[in-house]
């Protein structure tokens, strides 16, 4: 069983939902990525989504764009990101790490070399924002063969065929993008999310994480009632930005603790 599947199985046993924070590798500076990752775990993260910086993050709003630019100003490459995961694994053998990024750095690295090195570094999942299922069947296969879960996005506008595609090519969990727009956009439609999730979960047969637009403990708790996992990105980047960089791990851990507590307080109230 993959680390991601094991994590979801364990959480289900505890009737808890997964908390999945996102940070960009190398932001606010490369030396803080490892302390931030460990702080996320200390604050209650179940899985870490680690952003691979890209020069042209077309699907991201201003907050994650800024994070990407800061990381790139230090020359953070996919190669370095894999090195960071490798270092992280020396102290943490259980928390799954999912790389999230764009296709071009992976293509430049080379598909084969990437899946081999990602496996060796201890990467558990890969979410490539601009690889819809039609364009990445071969890549998804080779990830699977190396024990890495290909994670896909679904949107409110996704059609029936997409459920089948994702069920076929994806594993681990799927990421339900709860609103149209880019990362960091405003409010989400909770009722719509609540209606869709049971249907999606049934069709694709894997846990469903919800992201885009989750800002605080209250909105995270509301999502935790209906989804299997709560993904928080832009808000965490903002917290990293607000204050001295050296104290960012402590600030982020404190924020996650609040979110964790609010999510766990909804224990047993699950609607989905």
């Amino acid at each position: 069983m993959s680390r991601i599947a094991a994590k979801f199985a364990a959480l289900q046993g505890q009737r808890r939902k997964a908390l999945i924070p996102f940070i960009t590798a190398g932001d606010p500076e490369p030396g803080l990525t490892l302390p931030l990752m460990h702080a996320l775990v200390a604050g209650g993260a179940d899985i870490i989504e680690l952003g691979v910086p890209f020069s042209d993050p077309m699907a991201d709003g201003p907050t994650i764009q800024r994070a990407s630019e800061r990381a790139l100003s230090f020359g953070v490459s996919l190669h370095l990101v894999l090195g960071m995961v490798h270092e992280f694994r020396k102290r943490d053998a259980t928390t799954p790490v999912v790389l999230m990024g764009y296709a071009n750095p992976i293509e430049a690295y080379g598909h084969e070399a990437f899946v081999r090195d990602a496996q060796a570094a201890g990467v558990d999942g890969v979410l490539t924002v601009d690889y819809p299922p039609e364009e990445c069947a071969g890549f998804a296969d080779s990830l699977q063969q190396h024990g890495i879960d290909p994670i896909f996005l679904l949107a409110p506008t996704s059609g029936e065929k997409r459920f089948t595609d994702v069920a076929e090519l994806g594993s681990g969990y799927l990421y339900y993008v709860s609103l149209k727009g880019v990362t960091g956009s405003a409010a989400i439609d909770l009722d719509e999310v609540a209606r869709r999730i049971p249907l999606i979960r049934e069709k694709v047969g894997m846990p469903v994480g919800v992201g885009f637009g989750i800002r605080d403990a209250a909105s995270a708790a509301r999502i935790a009632r209906v989804a299997d996992a709560v993904v928080i990105g832009s808000r965490i980047i903002e917290i990293i930005e607000q204050g001295p960089p050296q104290e960012a791990p402590a600030r982020v851990a404190a924020f996650l603790r609040e979110v964790r507590a609010a999510m766990d307080a909804t224990n047993g109230e699950t609607q989905g």
Partner: protein, 401 residues
């Protein structure tokens, strides 16, 4: 495959291994809707008739072909003919595509159009058609380009458009495209994104090519009438590649006609300061399609340089990538200096001020013409007029207005 049954792209937008749809899930329904609407429109005689009417009476088509006799004589070799897209309304080929996409937007009931622009020519074309059809218009432009192209920014504003300076990344064309995509994914219900070149996710490369292919279609008829035959070479500059695809497309089955795309070598390919994606780039994924890109060894897109803002783009339309690999078209480069020399030549020998983009195609034609017999014919796409570039040219000469 023979060039006679050329039928690319396939239904998911692939030109061989290039093209396709590389976008986040959130954009896919919008692209599918666009592809379906375009498919329906292009099979509707009423849509085609209206497009042709607009091209005739608003744009001023057909644009003439002009035999540059004096310049050809000075060069002492092949005869140079110019397809005069510079005479179109708004001064470049961009308007052909602007009209086509705006008509499609209206048909789809979208009241708001957005665009990205580099030099500002596509922004001006979009602002123009938005005024013509009574639509709201927002143009994204890198803040560096806003500074470099202030005259075009003001042109867009008098036409009623809102110009949004983009501060992210390199603050140039590629970043403007990213920002326009973000706007589109957020406002897709009422908004149509008018992409200005044969790039982006399917169906854009195909759709923009189709709208621009009027250029080559006219040339085939005009060259028969004017010279009694088709040219030996068709030459066009390549930024994103729309004026080149427009003039190449109907010539693809004419196997005796060489198709030559001219990329910007900037300060010289060896300096790294250029914009020659096909010549010096590697295949990768950017802006929704797979194509040749200028990128570093880590797959980050690198900044480009060209004296002409319209060629200053690190990618290129996927159909050109395919035409290059298949050998049907060849791609060459011209430096800033060579383009400037051709700019001045055309001004002085023919009384035509060409766009700096088009001057790249002219410079290659001049280089080639010299070594060829006088009965050879080179047809150059004069994609735009150079009024917008006088500032840049004057600055080079140390002149301030």
């Amino acid at each position: 495959m023979t060039q006679n049954d050329y039928s690319l792209p396939d239904e998911r937008g692939h030109f061989g291994r290039y093209g396709g749809i590389f976008v986040a899930e959130t954009l896919l329904p919008a692209l599918a809707g666009l592809a379906a609407a375009y498919e329906e429109a292009r099979n509707d005689p009423a849509f085609r008739a209206e497009f042709e009417q607009e091209l005739a009476h608003y744009v001023g088509r057909p644009s003439p072909i002009y035999h540059a006799r004096r310049w050809s004589q000075v060069l002492g070799g092949a005869q140079i003919y110019l397809k005069r897209e510079d005479l179109n309304h708004t001064g470049a080929h961009k308007i052909n595509n602007g009209i086509g996409q705006a008509l499609l937007a209206r048909r789809m009931g979208k009241r708001r159009v957005i665009a990205e622009t580099g030099a500002g020519m596509h922004g001006v074309a979009t602002a123009t058609v938005a005024a013509r059809y009574g639509m709201e218009c927002v143009v994204y432009m890198g803040s560096e380009d806003v500074k470099r192209q202030s005259a075009n920014v003001y042109r867009m504003k008098v036409l009623g458009a809102t110009v949004v300076p983009v501060e992210s990344g390199s603050k140039t064309l590629k970043d403007a495209l990213n920002e326009a995509m973000r706007d589109w994914v957020t406002n897709v219900e009422n908004t149509f994104y008018i992409i200005g070149t044969v790039a982006g996710p399917h169906p854009y490369p195909m759709m923009v090519r189709d709208f621009q292919s009027v250029i080559g279609k006219e040339c085939i008829a005009q060259m028969s009438a004017l010279a009694g035959r088709q040219p030996d070479q068709v030459i066009a500059c390549v930024g994103g590649g729309s004026n080149a695809m427009g003039i190449f497309y109907d010539y693809i089955p004419h196997e005796n006609v060489r198709l030559v795309g001219v990329e910007a070598a900037g300060l010289g390919i060896e300096t790294g300061k250029h914009a020659a994606s096909l010549t010096a780039g590697r295949p990768g994924v950017l802006h929704g399609n797979r194509t040749y890109l200028l990128q570093d060894e880590n797959g980050q897109i690198i900044e480009t340089h060209s004296i002409s803002a319209g060629l200053d783009y690190p990618g290129v339309g996927p159909e050109h990538a395919w035409l290059k690999d298949s050998g049907r078209a060849e791609y060459v480069t011209v430096t800033d200096e060579e383009a400037l020399a051709a700019f001045h030549d055309l001004c002085r020998f023919e009384g035509i001020i060409p766009a700096l983009e088009s001057s790249h195609a002219l410079a290659y034609a001049a280089r080639t013409a010299r070594g060829l017999p006088k009965d050879r014919i080179l047809l150059v796409n004069l994609s735009g007029r150079g009024d917008k570039d006088l500032h840049t040219v004057a600055e080079r000469a140390g002149i301030r207005f």
